[in-house]
């Protein structure tokens, strides 16, 4: 791609000599790393508190050939803990040891509920254990209270197929909207510069972690802002303030990545494969940086984490998740409309279609690329915050979504913004609905299947153009 940087890139290339550019590159890289460390040092102070916790173990009980009873852990079952007032304290999925640990604030009465929808197919709770178990204040002997659930062969489903499908569909829509939001940037960056950004998942995590940093950890030097409603004395922000701030900072992060690294690489004429490998390095760097500052636990935001779900027909959804979904839908519509109708949006699509032709018609493609990085960073950060509200914040929340995003943008058509919207959404819904058939721990496998089938039969995706592919 010779004219990647448009006309201005080449002129600059001649003016600025090589060593000066590389000098500045080092400074920039240093600045980006330094800025990151300043931004995130606070997160490490969120140390583990040795509070009370409820440890839930889910086991499948069966008799083996000799007639002895044996246990097998059941993974991917959702467990919810609510307090005496019915407010949700925490929720978790059992890991591959069949164990979920949910911290609780104090010795008190709790209700532990197992979501029977999430049990693997063909299993129900055995008659001896019910889906709802009570924990009383006095039953905490140590700081950990152990609760066991036993499952066995099912004798007919407890819920009708339609009800299950409806619930999974709603979960899928929630995931799909977040995926669509995260994917737009990935697809547009690819469309305008040709770069497949393997660090995009870390841009999502960045949003979630910055949100957490502002919302929960707080930065004491911001305490002077406490006169603003929603800002606390310790410099932490209400999530309604923290979320937009995180999104803005996500945009700044996207801008910094472009200005600090990728713009310079394009000017130096460094090839796309090299840049792609570089994003891999960036992804390793960022993820481990997040890990070292945030450690490997996942944590909720301060507000809205404890909510009672609404029951609408067969579907249950918390007001928080509902609001988040509506917000993401609005954001996505806004993005789609501005791409469709505004001047800059049209320019973006033009560059994405054919950078050379767009440059020839007088579009400043570097400006468009900058815009795309800012927009992509902001949307990824928004996805991170929303995902963090929906589930929890963790250091690899984005990295785990990356592969689903790739499946989404491939399905939609690599490089097409609308394709990313549609594809991300479809993949999200499919993954959740498919978990009715495949075990929860493997629920991302259908995305690989989608990926392979699309590439075999329609490599340009639903909305992509065939010429892009070859």
């Amino acid at each position: 791609m010779p004219a990647l940087g448009g006309s201005c890139g080449q002129e600059v290339d001649q003016q600025v000599n090589r060593s000066a550019v590389s000098h500045r590159f080092v400074r920039w890289l240093g600045a980006v790393v330094a800025a990151l460390s300043v931004l995130a040092f606070g997160a490490s102070s969120a140390s583990a508190d040795d509070g009370y916790q409820i440890r839930i173990q889910v086991k499948e009980q069966f008799r083996d050939a000799t007639g002895k009873t044996d246990n097998q852990p059941v993974a991917g079952v959702t467990i919810m803990v609510t307090d005496a007032g019915g407010v949700e304290i925490g929720r978790a999925e059992t890991d591959d040891k069949g164990v979920a640990v949910i911290p609780v604030p104090a010795k008190a009465d709790y209700t532990v509920t197992l979501d029977e929808d999430t049990l693997p197919d063909g299993q129900t709770l055995s008659t001896a254990s019910t889906a709802v178990q009570q924990v009383t204040k006095d039953s905490f002997i140590t700081s950990t209270k152990v609760i066991n659930f036993f499952t066995g062969e099912s004798q007919g489903g407890s819920q009708s197929l339609f009800d299950k499908l409806a619930q999974r569909g709603v979960n899928g829509i929630r995931l799909g909207l977040v995926l669509a939001m995260c994917s737009v940037g990935l697809s547009l960056i690819f469309g305008t510069t040709g770069l497949t950004n393997f660090a995009h998942g870390e841009m999502v995590t960045f949003g979630g972690l910055i949100g957490y940093l502002l919302n929960v950890t707080g930065m004491s030097f911001l305490g002077f802002l406490a006169f603003i409603p929603g800002v606390h004395d310790d410099g932490s922000f209400h999530i309604l303030l923290a979320a937009p701030l995180a999104i803005v900072l996500g945009g700044v992060f996207g801008w910094a990545l472009n200005a600090g690294i990728f713009l310079r690489l394009r000017r130096r004429g460094i090839g796309l494969v090299t840049q792609m490998v570089l994003t891999v390095g960036l992804s390793i760097l960022l993820r481990n940086f997040f890990l070292s500052r945030f450690d490997s636990r996942s944590r909720p935001f301060k507000e809205f984490s404890l909510q009672k779900a609404w029951e609408i027909g067969p579907v249950s959804i918390t007001p928080r998740d509902f609001t988040v979904s509506v917000l993401s839908l609005l954001i996505l519509i806004a993005v789609a409309l501005s791409l469709r109708y505004t001047r800059l949006g049209k320019a973006t699509r033009a560059v994405s279609d054919n950078p050379d032709l767009a440059s020839a018609t007088g579009i400043d493609s570097e400006r468009v690329v900058r815009l795309v990085w800012i927009l992509g960073g902001a949307l990824a950060a928004a996805g991170g915050v929303f995902r963090g509200l929906d589930e929890q914040v963790s250091f690899d929340m984005g990295g785990r979504l990356l592969f689903l995003m790739f499946a989404g943008i491939t399905l939609g058509g690599l490089g097409s913004a609308f394709g990313a919207l549609v594809g991300g959404f479809v993949v999200g819904v499919m993954v959740e609905v498919a978990s009715m058939v495949v075990p929860t721990e493997l629920k991302t496998t259908p995305a690989l299947l989608i990926l392979i089938l699309v590439l075999l039969f329609r490599p340009q995706g639903i909305l992509g153009k065939a010429q892009r592919v070859g």
Binding site: M1, S22, F25, L29, V33, F41, S44, Q72, P73, V74, A75, D96, K97, G98, P120, F190, G194, T196, F198, I261, L265, I270, G271, L272, V273, T274, Q275, M276, V277, L278, V280, G281, L282, S283, I284, L285, L286, N288, F289, L291, S292, F403, F406, A407, T410, L414, P439, E441, L442, T444, T445, A447, L448, L451, I452, L455, L456, P459, V469, G470
Partner: protein, 336 residues
């Protein structure tokens, strides 16, 4: 600060088993990335094929250990076809996406409770390596004895795997070196440079790419086997996405499109990595403070090392994409 220990460990890291299995995997990746221009980000998946091929002989099939070698190779050929058939006619990024996805799915499947009977779940598979160890014993290398001289002291167990490993590195390195001098290798390099030109000469580019992908994958499989034999265990989380990335870093460090680079790179990688790890751990025994901010605790040393790996890869890509020993001329595979 105990410099003797740091230096001893670093020198051992230079030729230790980690360098061996990285080197074999990097030789394979070099066939794909360096010579054919194929971006395989799923080498860990191929390694898992080899490891589980060996492990499943004892765990599931209950057949002789030695059948694990053809079994692992069979797995990796199948995996190569799965990755290659949909993507090799398309642009390079698609292969990268599909390989990274497949490797991750393999890891999820082998660690799942659902398929525990086949793959042993998240605990993996143990106790299958005895026949391999026995061969070492019968050649007079006693498992428990210590061999070597300072700083290279190894137990008989380690030594036996190391000997086999380095012999494999030498054989595979020689094989790839000769292969790339052959007509087949020249076609491969030509594909990297200009696919259309090769096609116009009547060569079946798709087939050549597929052969390169599978060959690199099979070499990766052998690396997975060596690693599994050293640990005498197969664990799903040893085959995560990051392993592929670290191997890629090691390969690029040494030099792309050069056999020597793909062997020296992993040695340098592990020498440096072990040095940094040991050094930083000793430095961070007391947490380092700047004012009231904790800059580094000893628990953060591991992550700092990986951050440095990421930074190394970034800097290499900016300033020396061909690696330390590579040849810039061989880096012309960069088209859109």
């Amino acid at each position: 600060m105990d410099w003797t220990l740091i230096i001893e460990n670093s020198l051992k890291g230079l030729i230790g088993i980690n360098a061996v299995y990285f080197a074999i995997a990097a030789i394979g990746m070099n066939v794909q990335f360096g010579y054919a221009g194929l971006l395989n980000f799923g080498q860990a998946g191929f390694m898992a094929c080899g490891a589980y091929g060996l492990g499943m002989t004892a765990h599931y099939f209950d057949i002789s250990f030695w059948w694990g070698i053809p079994l692992g190779i069979l797995f990796s050929v199948l995996l190569g076809l799965l990755m290659g058939v949909p993507t090799l006619r398309l642009r390079a990024d698609y292969l990268a996406i599909v390989t990274i996805a497949s490797a991750e799915i393999i890891r999820l499947v082998v660690r799942s409770v659902k398929f525990k009977t086949y793959f042993g779940g998240s605990d993996g598979i143990n106790s299958f390596a005895q026949p391999f160890r026995k061969v070492g014993n019968s050649l007079g290398i006693e498992e428990a004895d210590e061999y070597g001289f300072w700083p290279f002291r190894f137990t008989g167990r380690e030594l036996w795997t190391l000997i086999v490993g380095w012999i494999l590195v030498a054989l595979l390195g020689f094989f790839v070196y000769k292969l790339m001098k052959s007509p087949w290798g020249r076609v491969l390099k030509a594909i990297r440079e200009d696919e259309d030109a090769v096609r116009s000469l009547g060569k079946n580019v798709y087939s050549y790419k597929m052969q390169a992908l599978i060959m690199g994958g099979v070499i990766g499989t052998i690396s997975g086997m060596v690693f599994a034999l050293d640990r005498a265990a197969v664990q799903p989380d040893n085959y995560s996405r990051d392993v592929t990335f670290y191997i890629l870093t090691a390969l690029v460090l040494g030099g792309v499109a050069k056999v020597s680079g793909s062997i020296v790179g992993p040695m340098m990688f592990w020498g440096l990595f072990t040095f940094m790890d040991n050094f930083l751990r000793q430095v961070a025994e007391d947490p380092i403070h700047l004012g009231n901010i904790t800059l580094m605790k000893s628990t953060q040393v591991g992550q700092l090392n990986y951050i440095l790996i990421g930074l190394t890869l970034i800097l290499l890509m900016v300033y020396r994409p061909q690696g330390v020993f590579g040849n810039r001329q061989e880096m012309a595979f960069d088209g859109r």
